[in-house]
Symmetry: C3
Subunit: 139 residues, 3 copies
């Protein structure tokens, strides 16, 4: 049984989903672990992880609209505003999605379904550099 650990850096361009499936798959492939468990951990409280459909771009637009409605940028709703009007909604949207995701590995690759892609979900308006820890255990 072996482990591998690496940090993935993702440059975001403001609010939105950035697909990172390819980068993660490359890490898994490189480590040559046939059967195991891959864990992704987002080291931030205003960005998160999400598995979503990787086919239709409209899907992403609708998902973003949903979160704009669910946790709107309305100053009157929040006390915490030290870091701008998009900060507290960002924390809420991160709470409603995932900080961590694990995916079993079989046949040397993630067991994602046909339509599943792994995304980093940036919740802030400004571009950020985000770190995702990748941990792999198996053999």
């Amino acid at each position: 049984m072996r482990q591998a650990l690496r940090q993935l850096e993702v440059e975001t361009k403001g609010k939105g989903l950035i697909e990172i499936t390819r980068e993660i798959a490359a890490f898994v492939k490189l480590e040559r672990i046939e059967t195991g468990l891959l864990t992704l951990f987002c080291r931030h409280t205003s960005a998160s992880l999400l598995i979503q459909e990787n086919a239709d771009p409209d899907d992403q637009a609708d998902l973003l609209s949903f979160f704009e409605r669910a946790a709107p940028e309305q100053a009157a709703l929040y006390v915490h505003d030290l870091e701008g009007p998009d900060d507290m909604p960002a924390h809420i949207r991160a709470a409603l999605t995932q900080t961590q995701l694990s995916v079993p590995v079989a046949g040397g690759a993630m067991t994602l379904g046909t339509w599943q892609g792994v995304y980093l979900f940036e919740h802030r308006r400004a571009p950020h550099r985000r770190s995702v820890v990748m941990h792999l255990i198996g053999e």
Copy 2:
């Protein structure tokens, strides 16, 4: 240290929660791993996983009503509608719950609390065949 990997197939009957605790417990028992970590991964973007109370059926009805209100089937809210009015709400509901769940194993069984059951949450109206990967590591 050993690993075990199996895929569980679940036939759904449209929207709702299907308890899969028994099937997962049987897998853990069969593998005879005393201490370890079980990971469940749902290979779909319009079904998800959830741990909920396994006692009161009203609990399930209220949970479904909540998600109908939170991400309603209203065409005007979404651009993505290639696969019907229940498709985009299904993706949102999956994003708000879990694609993956891990449960520590102790004494040869999952460490679920007394009232916890593991459920597959079907978000589409039509019946579907859903695949859940089960990964177990331990000894």
Copy 3:
């Protein structure tokens, strides 16, 4: 490769976030696992786990307000009320956050980001004793 397993007991004082980062970090340190994976599992359906900003107390107040609005304590919305008006909202709020969280371990410590803290999220009005299983695997 080794494993360690322990149950953390947390006394809550009604609705709110209780930081448990220090207790978890102490467990990881004591076990002297340099590289690995830590998994936390909340054994309840009306409390949950959350990673949030550990700096600003306003952040916590805003997060609580959000969940009060998102899944309000309004009897008319729910059928399930055997255990009081805060019970079904508690289950919904647990469903929207996490029952389980995994954090990679590197250099003998959790790979949390600078502003990240781990919290137990109590959703009931009354104080409760909550159990969180901590599982660690690595070497």
